[in-house]
């Protein structure tokens, strides 16, 4: 097993990996940019290396600086986490070239699955159903339009080198096709240096269901069941769960999807952890979407229902160990749900809300897990994704897991900045969600109908607020020796500016 591992990441996932490394007796090396000197992952790692200024491109995406840190600290292996360089085949290659084990799949599998048309071909040749579409990426709309006419609208245009929703367009009418194709293509060219676009029949009101696969370097591959991630805002997952309510009520679906996922991964010569994503219709019919060649944000829900430590398994596989169990030994127990807690304001168009966390109470007690990268006093930087933490709960049944999550959300207080906690409360109380009748546009539709994120308060609660306001003024005056210092920092700046 490794003696020392560098984590080429930050935030909650760096902490998550540090914890497993510590339990395994492996030393951890954190990396940090100028913005992250005081970040929790730096505080909690055994060692830490500075890798550059705040912008990701100059630090967390800088392969040379990361490899330099790995050499200086004498590590055996590098874990990329998710995001940043985790799906960069060049990075995986560079790690191996520099003599480090890359804790993830082989660079060749990352590259193969990085091309969305190549991934579709691999999945298809492994026997997975794919949504009807063009085989190849195209640089002009002609052939694509012919396909769209045959298949019927609506269709999706997607970038071959895609990811993060870039170069993606829904087209509802032939009249919009050419202009949509051209804007998708130019967006893809700007984002990926590759303007090729392919077209797929749109699967509407579909569930997003994905399979966690795990392969060793000896040819064994299994799956750890599915996750349902249909609650998305603008194509970004916000709530994930395992098992999927759709899969649970559809006989044989888990086995069929698991088999399709394993075969697609085998086609790519895959090993270590990976996720095969599908769109699934209410009938149980599913279509391969893409494969994520890394640890997923939402891996904890799989950990809670399988009882496995996925990160530990990643380390063991990367060190050459055989998979320690067979498919038959994997059993899912109960239900797990994850909410991604973001620094953003649901009451104001989800505007990001970085800033200093002045107070923090995290939920605890039975069935509650918090994977967090924050602490009271930490200033959430502007420079990175505004995810603060993940709140994950487990219970013996889905409805109880939902009630537990609502209890835990009620215990979660992040002071000084806004969070999306009230969004989760709205979704988890929604009857459709509770019934498991969800699809990838479900949340966007809810938001379009309008959710009130502020509960109306009765007169009594206002009178309590008035009492507390008065008391706080007294406390503040007593400690600071001034009569009023209640203004937050930016309000104070505003006032000063006015007085100039």
């Amino acid at each position: 097993m490794f003696r020392k591992v560098l984590i080429a990441n930050r935030g909650e996932i760096a902490l998550r990996i540090i914890r497993t490394l510590r339990e395994m007796g492996i030393a951890s090396v954190a990396v940090y940019s100028d913005a992250d000197r005081a970040a929790l992952h730096v505080r909690k790692a055994d060692e830490a290396a500075h890798i550059g200024p705040a912008p990701s491109r100059e630090s967390y995406l800088n392969i040379d600086r990361i490899l330099e840190a790995a050499k200086k600290h004498g590590v055996d292996a590098i874990h990329p986490g998710y995001g940043f360089l985790s799906e960069n085949a060049r990075f995986a290659h560079a790690c191996v070239d520099a003599g480090f084990t890359f804790i993830g799949p082989p660079a060749s599998a990352i590259a193969a699955m990085g091309s969305k048309t190549e991934a579709r071909r691999l999945a298809k040749s492994g026997g997975a159903p794919i949504a009807p579409g063009t085989e190849e990426g195209l640089e002009s709309p002609g052939e694509a339009l012919r396909f769209a006419r045959d298949a019927g609208f609506p269709v999706m245009l997607k970038a071959v080198a895609g990811g993060g929703g870039k170069g993606m367009r829904r087209v509802d009418r032939e009249a919009d096709f050419v202009s949509s194709f051209e804007s998708a293509s130019s967006e893809a060219l700007r984002a990926f240096g590759d303007g090729r676009v392919y077209v797929e029949k749109l699967i509407e009101n579909a569930h997003h269901v994905e399979i966690q696969v795990f392969g060793d370097q000896h040819g064994n591959m299994i799956h750890l069941g599915e996750r349902e991630c249909s609650i998305q805002r603008r194509h970004q997952k916000v709530i994930e769960e395992s098992p999927s309510p759709l899969v649970v009520k559809t006989p044989g679906m888990r086995e069929r999807m698991g088999e399709a996922a394993i075969r697609a991964a085998r086609e790519a010569g895959y090993f270590n952890a990976g996720t095969v994503e599908f769109l699934a219709e209410n009938s149980g019919q599913f279509y391969f979407l893409e494969m994520n060649t890394r640890l997923q944000v939402e891996h904890p829900v799989t950990e809670l229902v399988t009882g496995l430590d996925v990160v530990r398994l990643q380390m063991e596989i990367a060190a050459g160990t055989k998979l320690p169990f067979t498919q038959e030994e994997i059993a899912l127990r109960g239900a797990a749900i994850e909410c991604r807690i973001y620094a953003e304001d649901p009451g104001n168009n989800f505007f990001p809300s970085p800033g200093k966390i002045t107070q923090l109470s995290e939920p605890a007690g039975p069935g509650v897990r918090v994977d967090s990268g924050i602490y009271a006093g930490w200033t959430v930087p502007l420079d990175y994704d505004p995810m603060l933490s993940k709140l994950i709960v487990w219970s013996d049944a889905r409805d109880r897991a939902i009630d537990r999550m609502l209890r835990a959300l009620g215990e979660y207080h992040v002071g000084g900045i806004r969070t999306n906690i009230s969004l989760f409360e709205a979704v988890l109380n929604d009857a459709g969600f509770r019934a498991g009748e969800i699809h990838t546009n479900y949340l966007d539709e809810m938001l379009r109908r309008g959710i009130s994120f502020e509960k109306p308060a009765d007169e009594e609660v206002k009178r309590i607020a008035a009492l507390v306001a008065l008391r706080q003024q007294t406390e503040t005056a007593a400690t600071a020796g001034v009569a009023s210092s209640n203004g937050s920092k930016w309000i104070a700046i505003g006032r000063d500016a006015l007085l100039q």
Binding site: N348, N349, F350, F351, P352, S353, P354, G355, T358, Q359, L382, P386, H413, G415, G416, S422, E425, E454, K455, A457, E460, V461, K462, R463, I464, A465, A466, L467, V468, A469, L470, R471, Q472, Q473, E475, A483, S484, N486, G487, S488, K489, W490, I491, I493, G494, R495, A497, L498, L499
Partner: protein
């Protein structure tokens, strides 16, 4: 003379309840046997799922501030983070409602509508469309 407390802009009589500060800015309130937890951050109070802005007018302090040329009663709208002004939705001297959008700022690729904290008259607009602003920059003010 007693302080006047405004909650969300309205004058509210404080409850007669048992209140203790448990952590800095966190209060436990017992009112008629019911337990509430209130958290103060800046000029906001969160109680359960509710959030209130508050303002205290100390009659003594008020006397002093009357001299300070209309500073009393003025509300400032500032940029919460660095960004770019993409749209201005009001004009100077216009009467606005509480919660009405005043200026749209784009930051981190998101558009954020900065709203009037209370009803009043637009006293000043400090920016133009296309301006880049730093965090805390004054965008407009209401009297």
């Amino acid at each position: 003379m007693r302080s006047v407390i405004r909650v969300d802009g309205e004058i509210v009589e404080p409850a007669n309840a048992d209140v203790v500060e448990t952590e800095p800015g966190v209060y436990s309130v017992l009112l008629d046997g019911r337990s509430f937890e209130a958290r103060v951050a800046g000029a906001e109070i969160a109680i359960g799922g509710h959030r209130f802005s508050f303002e205290i007018e100390d009659p003594r302090a008020w006397k002093r501030s009357v001299g300070a040329a209309g500073a009393h009663g003025r509300a400032v709208i500032s940029a919460p983070m660095p960004g770019k002004v993409v749209r201005i939705l009001v004009e100077a001297d216009e009467q606005v409602e509480a919660g009405q959008g005043m200026v749209v700022v784009e930051a981190m690729k998101m558009q954020n509508e900065m709203k009037a904290p209370r009803a009043g008259r637009v006293a000043s607009i400090a920016v133009h469309e296309g301006d880049s602003v730093v965090a805390g920059a004054v965008l407009a003010s209401i009297e």
